[in-house]
């Protein structure tokens, strides 16, 4: 019995332990990897978007007054179609230039609202305030409101919706 240890060979006990470890590791991997894949699969699925969305005729947009435009896009997620809604504030200046700001707060993604008094964008979640041009006035938001690329074609204002 003591032969293996004395000659420096592998004892039966060591061999069995080693085999069990290898087998156990293999089984864990074979079961574990599919389990993780199963849980994270939908998160890894991306649906890239790159579209120009028409917001409306420019002549109907009030001058020098942030105006909210909303639209939604339907997408099949899982086994259901889910509508995602978007909101953009458009500021039309008297010299026919436009500024489009996403209404998603740069802090933790609540939706900001334009208040005529005191003339700023207010975030209801943690009291963030942004100026008319989008820069941060006060509160926790780290960045100005996201400016959105836009264009005017035949009197219609379009915004560029890009999602990776």
């Amino acid at each position: 019995m003591a032969g293996a240890e004395e000659t420096g060979g592998l004892s039966r006990r060591k061999f069995v332990t080693g085999m069990l470890a290898v087998l156990g590791g293999t089984i864990t991997a074979v079961i574990g990897l599919p389990a993780v894949g199963y849980l994270v699969a939908p998160a890894l699925k991306r649906s890239p978007t790159d579209v120009w969305v028409p917001l409306g005729p420019v002549e109907s947009i009030p001058i020098d007054q942030p105006t909210l435009f909303t639209f939604s896009r339907a997408e099949r997620i899982g086994w259901e179609t889910t509508a995602t809604s978007y909101g953009m504030y458009v500021l039309r200046s008297p010299d026919e230039r436009y500024r489009v700001l996403s209404n998603v707060c740069t802090h933790l993604a609540c939706r900001v609202v334009w208040k005529d008094d005191p003339q700023d964008y207010t975030c209801p979640c943690h009291d963030g305030h942004f100026a008319k041009d989008g820069h941060v006035l006060s509160g926790p938001p780290p960045r100005p409101l996201q400016a959105v690329e836009h264009k005017v074609e035949e009197g219609i204002l379009y915004v560029h919706l890009v999602e990776a």
Binding site: P34, G37, Y38, L39, A41, W79
Partner: protein, 219 residues
């Protein structure tokens, strides 16, 4: 290092005692038929784990149940595998439970002092069948729908209380969203919790009393 951590834990948790009473306990010389209980336990754990995973995507609603199962089968990574194991594991578990019971019966292992082990085993058989019956409806396909129609109608043939039992099982007159929801509840909460409690008693008794030896001639 590992040895010291183990010693620290062992002094507080009594791991060695747990190990020696459950896994190192003395057993008589028996044959392979005595592994059926462990096989059943293994399958039950497997059903629990795969079942929990299935609830990540499954929705017990008449309009979404079928679609969500389809989604699991065709779109989620390894969804076919998880559901496949749950599906076949269920069938296999009923088989092992029956064989386990037959072994216990033919070797007379249900006798004193193991009567309560046998009784909890009988209830475990019923709970296992209940799991199979309630799980069968969940995919909400044609087969599931009609199998449950037939199954609940059979309950309705019992004298006197039958019709009432049938209505209670279905949550009303016919099969509906209520039937699906209550079968789901039974399948993932009521029956598993009952099963867990019964398995606890069953195993406690197996460890406490030890297993019986194979009867000798003249016993």
């Amino acid at each position: 290092m590992v040895a010291r951590v183990y010693a620290w834990l062992d002094r507080r948790l009594g791991l060695t005692t747990i190990y020696s009473t459950t896994l190192d306990r003395k057993v008589p010389k028996v044959n392979w038929a005595f592994t059926l209980g462990s096989a059943t336990l293994f399958l039950a754990v497997m059903q629990g784990v795969t079942g929990i995973f299935l609830t990540v995507y499954y929705v017990p609603h008449p309009e979404q149940a079928y679609d969500s199962v389809n989604y699991i089968m065709n779109e989620v990574a390894f969804g076919w595998l998880i559901r496949g194991v749950h599906h076949w594991g269920a069938t296999l578990m009923v088989v092992t439970v029956f064989l386990h019971m037959l072994r216990t019966f033919f070797y007379g292992s249900y006798k004193y002092p193991r009567e309560i082990t046998w009784m909890t085993g009988v209830f475990l058989l019923l709970v296992t069948l209940g799991m199979g019956f309630t799980g069968y409806l969940l995919p909400w396909n044609q087969r599931a729908y009609w199998a449950t129609t037939v199954g609940t109608s059979i309950a309705g043939t019992v004298p006197l209380v039958g019709p009432l039992v049938e209505r209670i099982l279905r949550g009303g007159e016919g099969l509906s969203a209520l039937t699906l929801a209550r079968f789901f509840s039974a399948h993932i909460w009521m029956l598993p919790v009952t099963l867990l409690a019964l398995v606890g008693i069953h195993l406690y008794l197996v460890v406490r009393l030890g297993i019986s030896h194979i009867p000798r001639e003249g016993e």
